[in-house]
Amino acid sequence: MASKRQKDSPEEEKKQASSFPDEVLECVLGFVKSHRDRSSVSLVCKDWYNAERWSRTHVFIGNCYSVSPEILVRRFPNIRSVTLKGKPRFSDFNLVPLNWGADIHAWLVVFASAYSFLEELRLKRMTITDESLEFLAKSFPNFKALSLVSCDGFSTDGLKAIVAHCKNLTELDILENGIDDLGGSWLSCFPENFTSLEVLNFASLNSEVNFDALERLVARCKSLKVLKVNKNVTLEQLQRLLVHTSQLTELGTGSFSQELTLREYSELESAFSNCKNLYTLSGLSEATSLYLPALYPACVNLTFLNLSDAALQSAELAKLLPHCPHLRRLWVLDTVEDKGLEAVGSSCPLLEELRVFPAEPFEQDVVIGGVTESGFVAVSQGCRKLHYVLYFCRRMTNSAVAAVVKNCPDFTHFRLCIMNPWEPDYLTKEPMDEAFGVVVKTCTKLQRLAVSGLLTDLTFEYIGKYAKNLETLSVAFAGSSDRGMQCVLAGCPKLRKLEIRDCPFGNAALLSGLERYESMRSLWMSACHVTMNGCRLLAREMPRLNVEVIKEDGSDDTHAEKVYVYRSVAGPRRDAPPFVLTL
């Protein structure tokens, strides 16, 4: 039951008689979906602020510590869907210690009383325990969608509670979490009369689920649109599942290698022929050229192909791609090499996003294999609509990057990771400054940038001067002095997230951003030259920022090894563990 607004006093009613009735305004605002637009709406005037807050049903909180659950429920009484992000992004790479925080429980307790009709909860980089999952399952009778991405703290036992108690569950999306996989029996906890599932993603869970239970579940959930299974599901089992699911729009297969008889293979092929509605395909672990052709009939409408689990060779990729004429997003491993990327260039004219992940990221002595600057250029030549790239490589040149952005000037996301730190231009041995210079000069719509390779302050001068739409910047092993960071903070008006590691930026750089940090979501600096005194100064000057230092064992007391600065209306954290110092 949505809470109703109290009637205004007679005086106010008179004033409003000439303006838009509240109910109409709220109705109109119901069509405004984007949270940024809603934020703008709420700033127009008091009436609009109120109309907006009463009509908002979905809230997005990019930093769980920027606001408290109490403040949230006071402002927005009718929320049905909450998206929360917790830890700083570098926690994905083991830079944030365990038990740092971002625990959802306090939020759930408040939601249980204020938002009893809550339907959706989407968490990224938060901690959620089995107890919290059980609490969630039992507190919200209308609960429909749970999405946990890069979260930790729970086990498959917690999933059992969700599955068993949420009668109206439509979505269960468990992705890349650090969880205790205690077995696959959670899947068997779906009640036999349960049929509402539309999205099921357990691809990143390791243990085997009961296949019969899965098959029965898939057969009775006629609205199932998204199904992503884990590696333990075999090809033969997949075929049995596909028989029930011709309406799937997203499929994540299990392991794609198995000894199949000719008959089993043709059954698989016809199962895939039935999947004409697929837009997204992923999984395919251990896929080989032997069975990939069975897939071809299902690729006809594909817009997103995720091959980051399938170590394909260039020839296999070259044979697969012509069957995907509508491909817009492609994720691959660098086993496809430059030759595979040439095939991408020639087969995917509509491609908008490319991510190339390294198959052997920890081998520093790899001389053959992987992708190079030529592959990058080859893709750009054929895929002129490319605007999102994430490219892991071991060598790159300034001229190659210049060629790429000349072909594709519309980049909004340019993330280049040259895996060996401080790696210079492969041909000229010069810094890679000019590469990123030409990116920011040419790509005026650039929102997100990740830099790598040997970089001096010049790169950051370019960024500050040209990257006027930049919102997120990731920097590692780069720069020569404080000046680099100062240029960015002074020059990028739309900067919201700045994450820096292993750079020679110190207190002068940190403090040059005093005026900026309140308009940003957060700043992360680790292994730089910032000291505790510098952080204290920042905290003193800017009381509405939370300035936190993560103390590592054995580091010296003056150096601030890991600094996390963010704006907050909730004040300093009350749940900080002992190794997080709030200054």
Partner: protein
């Protein structure tokens, strides 16, 4: 972790190139893997290499890859690097030998089972099976130094680095 050594000095001369001071920590990792490889008689990475790789991977924070992708790739990496290592196996009294891929096994039990099937005999381990009679067979191997040793005394991974050939001999010879 000692990943970035430049952070310990409080004043860095701006003329110092960062790579000179930061490079040493990553350089150490590189040397470690080379040293381990030099100690092995196998040219491709053996499981010992993967061991050290794994422990570094767990604590590694570079390149910036998510943990799940990291561990999936680690598995893939070790699977693909593991090629094969075939050694000759002779049974005493049988002039024609066989060849066996040691990398296809994870431990001594697997090896003994396979050999038992290959040679249609039971191979016994002295310490587990108690006193042997003269008609039983045991498994021996020739190591890098040319000595013939009883199989099973050293950890499996170490065995792989030193074994050159196998022989199934009668117990009375041991």
């Amino acid at each position: 972790m000692g990943r970035s050594t430049n952070s310990s000095s409080s004043s860095i001369d701006s003329s110092n190139h960062p790579s000179l001071s930061c490079a040493s920590s990553l350089q150490t990792k590189k040397d470690l893997s080379t040293d381990l490889r030099l100690g092995l008689n196998i040219s491709t990475s053996s499981e010992i290499d993967n061991f050290s790789n794994n422990s570094r991977e767990q604590s590694s924070d570079w390149p910036p890859l998510k943990p799940l992708l990291r561990s999936t790739l680690a598995e893939k990496g070790s699977n693909r690097q593991r090629t094969s290592y075939f050694v000759k196996v002779y049974m005493e009294g049988v002039p024609i030998g066989r060849k066996l891929d040691l990398f296809a096994h994870n431990d001594y039990d697997g090896l003994v089972r396979t050999l038992g099937q290959m040679f249609r005999t039971t191979i016994l381990c002295p310490d587990i099976d108690g006193v042997l009679s003269d008609n039983d067979h045991v498994l021996t191997y020739e190591d890098k130094e040319g000595d013939w040793m009883m199989v099973g005394d050293v950890p499996w991974e170490m065995f792989l680095t030193t074994v050159k050939r196998l022989k199934i001999t009668r117990a009375d010879k041991c």
